[in-house]
Amino acid sequence: MTNDPSSHSKQPLLDVRNLRVEYLTENGSVTAVNGVSFSVTKGEIFGLAGESGCGKSTIAHSILRVLRPPAVITGGNIFYKGIDVLDFDEKNQSRRKGENQPGNSMVDLDIESFRWAQVSMVFQSAMNSLNPVTRAVDQITDVIRKHQKIDKKLARERAEELMEIVNIDKKRLNAYPHELSGGMRQRMVIAMALALKPDLMIMDEPTTALDVVVQKDILQQIEKLKQQFGFSILFITHDLSLMVEFSDRIGIMYAGELVEMAPAKEILTRPFHPYTMGLLASFPSIKGPKKKLTGIPGSPPDLLNPPKGCRFHERCPFYQGKEEEAPAFREIVPGHWVACNCRDLSRMVGAQ
């Protein structure tokens, strides 16, 4: 067993190591992401789950290098195909020589060709990520023509193809965003994310604003597209039931830290971290007898003054009142990582 939670496989597509992001506020610095490591392999759907404010979106923005002050990346690396994304120099649009790159990089990249062409993103609110005064077709062709030297006509043909892929009538290409329904807008955002055939798509709560029927339809379509084009997905949501259904592996975040990481079904059937167990006890089922669910007592901590030691201890039913040290994130069975000092590990391993 290794001590590196990001080394899930030999050559991951995305490899986040010990990432640390701080928000520098007037009242002090808030560590929004505190030493998070995980990786996403080719063709995989990796889910990041957690409550609002736990750092999920901050990680997504860090990967694309679109964090804005007061947020600052203060530590760690984000390797994409072996290149450290954090070495990209925004101003010169070229890559500085990174010193801590593992081996030789597979591709030559700068930030322009990295963003969108390699890694694209689908945001939560389609209405806010589309330009309200530009027709659908122009928004899609803009993306294509920014990155590829093709003429307008060809770009339009490509836009039509994309609309077909995401199941929108291509006649709607001339529509403005407000003329499209919520589901269609979200499909359009997905079409734009697919425009340059990226290898990784980051989806930040892509269906949270949609109704369940539309949500299911869109996710099934994404799944099909993924099989067709072979991209990987970093999927972010607070809805654990949805996440277990959709993802291959899941990382559970709490107060800026990764507390558990395991294959999706294992999170459901053998959760180990008390927070994961509490989250699972926060979603009632639509089948079987009614069970009283308790959720988790208390509320998420103030990150300006995070609790000492384990950040979850104030709400933890297993906490004995001793631990002062923050628990290490370790692999308890192959592929299953947990940061917890309080629960007896042998129980978990013995259950195998």
């Binding site: 329904s181 369940v212 299911k216 799944e223 639509i286 089948k287 009614k290 669910l293």
Partner: protein
Amino acid sequence: MIQPNPLLPFDPSGVPMLEARHLFKRFPVGTALQRHNVHAINDVSLIIRRGEVVSLVGESGSGKSTTARLIIRLIEPTSGEIFLDGVDMLKSEPHKASLEYRRRVQMIFQDPFSSLSPNHSIGYQLERPLIVHKRARGKEIRERVLDLLATVGINPPAQMIDKYPFELSGGQRQRVSIARALAVEPEIILADEPISMLDVSIRMGVLNLLEGLKEERSIGFLYITHDLASARYLGDRTMVMYAGHVVESGESIDLMENPYHPYTQLLLAAVPNPESDLTTREVQARGEVPSLIDPPPGCPFAPRCPQVKDICRQVMPGVSTIKPDHWVKCHLFTPDA
């Protein structure tokens, strides 16, 4: 099989506390030359008994919140009747609901960040209903406020009184909103998506609080949500809305185990199910909710329905009773169709 009076749910307990019959609401839109009507609520009837939670589920825009606003009389129905303890309220108080009606029927809103006044302390916001409705005076007021805060699980309550909403977490704010509704000792609370803006881990705490109030104080709840699982968790009965119509109603567990209406079946199939893979069940009825502006006759679900028949596009189906306390509006279950 058809109930003679499509008034609906079977009620063994005699006069229900609150009953709405055949509510319709039209909103006019367009210009003077081109008048159109949004058919927001179409023939909605429901009853709420003492100590019962009725869940109202549906997609956004299906008329759930409009139904609540009609019942609490923030807006007036185009036609229909609302009975409270057997009294026709729209007839006895035609212009505006009385203070007494407002006391008996209270509401909790979705967004606890905007439903509390940012300029006043929590103590002040809880005193106001007590004073306006003359529920307490003098020194009693403070005691009652502390009492209310303790009831909704805020501990210690004395520290909360001088705080302002911005100092509170989302869960605390929603608890204060619940306390404010409870201040006037209501008999019915309409809760409009009370947990959807809250963090996942604290949602169950708020739902359990509502359930406790139902049991301890025999308050009747209308629980409005888009989440079927929580509708089932909290609701004794569940009603499913689509495009302003209630299309199916039944005892919650029964309704979700034996859904009859194709729309209910579609909704249930779309609920994320961690135990299955996404690909196991394809969504059967693509498409979206139809426009509510001057809709065509017939069932609103007909354009999407996998089992649509000719009659569905012409006539809106009436109520078919499947069993006591479970009915559906669908031509598949009308005997003559």
